[in-house]
């Protein structure tokens, strides 16, 4: 078995677990005093596990959101939709595999358009998908599907999981900023329900381009932030080591986003994160998406656009 991916904040816990396993492999008959020590450690382990996972700080959640084994857009699309048809291409330059774009049918029978950042599930696919960081053609592909969703009255479901739009030379030269801006404009005008689900990383404009609508559902350990804690730490703290503090200051966790009036709902994850047991999480997402769509049933297209605008309109804090 390959060594599991250990997150910084889990180190002490895993160290203790290893220690305990070691002792347990020894012969307690030969050293009876071990039994007591083992019991003590076992007790300590229970305490530590609780302490580690009960109150995860934002930085810990960011690490969980980035966990390589965390369920990806690929898993949600595969598990939540039947009759999936993926479509490709921006009709001008290329097909960006960092964005999934297609159509699927939810368990309840609703046919919907589906978009998502796609990180890949193994090294080979990670590379093909550019680790989920789209180029402009990815957003232009997404816009094609948005237009089809609008034309054919299909609700749009998006899965957010990107560290950000790719900051490369060609991405800039081919209009990363324009592609994102046009996507924001288009999303705001879609005459169909738009449900967004934050399943992992919500990296700034690269996430936002397919990341706002009529509902924002966040997984407990997913984050959504204007900037990565690391970059924020470099810029505002002049110190790369302050990522954890920055993560706390940025109010980027699911719970905080609900308090800020940006997210609508938080989907709990099993102790340690969705990667520990993904099935119930994915199932819960499906239920939440169908519930959100049901809430929006029967609202006229113009009503959806107007309500979405008012929703955006209400975001922002200032004195007047």
């Amino acid at each position: 078995m390959t060594r599991r991916h250990v997150m910084e904040f889990e180190r002490p816990l895993f160290a203790l677990e290893d220690k305990l396993d070691e002792l347990r492999r020894l012969d307690t008959a030969e050293n009876p005093e071990l039994t007591a020590e083992i019991e003590a450690l076992a007790l300590e382990l229970v305490r530590l596990r609780a302490a580690t996972y009960e109150h995860l700080d934002p930085w810990a959640r960011v690490q969980i959101a980035r966990h390589p084994d965390r369920p990806k857009t690929e898993h949600y699309v595969g598990a939540l939709f039947d009759d999936v048809v993926e479509v490709h291409g921006d009709r001008t330059f290329g097909d960006d595999e960092a964005i999934f774009a297609g159509f699927g049918t939810l368990a309840g029978g609703r046919r919907v358009a589906v978009l998502g950042h796609r990180k890949g599930v193994d090294t080979k696919s990670n590379i093909r998908r550019n680790f989920g960081s789209p180029h402009p053609e990815g957003y232009r592909k997404a816009m094609r599907v948005m237009r089809l969703a609008d034309k054919f009255g299909l609700p749009l479901v998006t899965f957010l999981d990107t560290a950000g739009a790719y900051p490369g030379i060609e991405a800039e030269e081919r209009g990363q900023a324009l592609a994102i801006a046009e996507s924001l404009s288009l999303l705001s005008g879609l005459r169909v329900p738009v449900i967004c689900v934050g399943i992992g990383e919500g990296g700034s404009g690269g996430a936002l381009a397919i990341g706002f609508g009529d509902r924002l559902i966040m997984l407990e350990n997913a984050y959504y932030s204007v900037i990565s804690p690391e970059m924020c730490s470099n810029i505002l703290y002049k110190d790369p080591a302050q990522a954890s503090t920055a993560a706390a200051c940025l109010k980027l966790t699911a719970g905080e986003l609900v308090e800020l009036g940006i997210a609508d709902e938080v989907i709990p994850e099993p102790t340690g994160g969705a990667h520990r047991d993904s099935v119930p999480v994915i199932t819960a997402v499906g239920v939440a998406v169908e519930r959100a769509l049901a809430d929006l049933d029967g609202i006229a297209p113009e009503g959806l656009v107007q309500t979405r605008y008012e929703r955006l309109r209400a975001i922002g804090e200032y004195d007047s």
């Binding site: 030269e173 404009g205 932030s225 505002l236 703290y237 200051c249 955006l312 922002g316 804090e317 004195d319």
Partner: protein
């Protein structure tokens, strides 16, 4: 007054009055005697002359940064600008504290800029035609977009939609206002939605990208204009050059993210020298008049 009449009139008084000078905040009045070195050609320029020449180097044409007051004086008909939403001022919604607290950054910015936020919006006339104008102020926390910038820009487009006026935005920005977290990111969506409604009403929007325009501002309202102008040599992009360099681990191509590169890559319509800006904007807007029917296009 017709655009053409206006042009002929303009010729007489073209950039000869000290509009720039008048526009400068108090302190610089006394600074009119001082010299500035041009980063372009290293010439020493007299501050007063620079102000009279819309802050363009007479030697190499380098475009110096402008204050919103100078920008307005150089762009719109004299005395036609009236600010709106000046009373909107920033809060500290996240209680953000870093090396400096957000509160400290804000007061420092007010001190430095004499402004109360990073964008100035209002009504104005260009060549006699009414517009809604927005001008960003890089001195105010790098003209980053927080709740107030987003709200002022959004209200400017809402006003323009209501009164069926063209919108003109002079942008400069380092990106989002980190200290407001997701509230600032969402301003990208909010402003983009307001621009869309203005456009769907068949109304014209012209943006002028100045040095530097980056991040969330570039990736939202700045590039959603019907026509996009940029000043010469302005740096324009989504990701900052340092981040790009770190990501790709190679040197950036010469001219990367300059207006000239943006033009070459098809992202902007024209590079317009500041000395030509007012006339070119007036001329451009004279073509972009709402049609009788109005409504969304093809």
């Amino acid at each position: 007054m017709s655009v053409t009449d206006w042009f002929s009139q303009r010729e007489r008084r073209r950039y000869t009055r000290t509009g720039g000078g008048q526009g400068r905040p108090g302190p610089s009045e006394v600074a009119d005697g001082i010299w500035v070195q041009c980063p372009g050609c290293k010439r020493a320029l007299l501050e007063r002359e620079l102000a009279e020449k819309v802050r363009v180097c007479s030697g190499c044409g380098h475009h110096f940064a402008m204050t919103p007051t100078e920008r307005i004086a150089s762009l719109v008909d004299d005395g036609t600008f009236t600010e709106i939403d000046a009373s909107l001022t920033p809060r500290d919604p996240l209680g953000f504290v870093a090396v400096k607290s957000y509160a400290e950054s804000l007061s420092a910015a007010r001190e430095k800029s004499g402004a109360n936020e990073a964008v100035l919006t209002g009504r104005a006339a260009i060549a006699g035609a009414g517009v809604v104008l927005g001008v960003m102020d890089f001195r105010f926390i790098g003209a980053s977009m927080g709740s107030v910038v987003g709200e002022r820009v959004t209200r400017a487009f809402e006003l323009a939609t209501e009164e069926r006026l063209p919108a003109v935005m002079v942008t400069a920005s380092g990106g989002a206002r980190m200290q407001e977290g997701m509230l600032s990111l969402m301003q990208m969506a909010k402003t983009s939605a307001a621009v869309r409604r203005h456009s769907d009403a068949g109304l014209p929007y012209l943006s002028i990208l100045t040095n530097p325009t980056y991040g969330g501002v570039t990736a939202s309202f700045a590039v959603l204009a019907d026509v996009i102008f940029a000043e010469p040599g302005a740096m324009i992009g989504f990701a900052g050059p340092r981040l790009v360099e770190q990501t790709i681990r190679q040197k950036l191509p010469k001219g990367f993210q300059t207006s000239e590169s943006m033009l070459k890559h098809g992202m902007i319509d024209r590079i317009v020298a500041r000395t030509e800006l007012r006339d070119t904007v007036a001329l451009m807007l004279s073509y972009l008049t709402p049609r009788a029917g109005g409504g969304a296009g093809v």
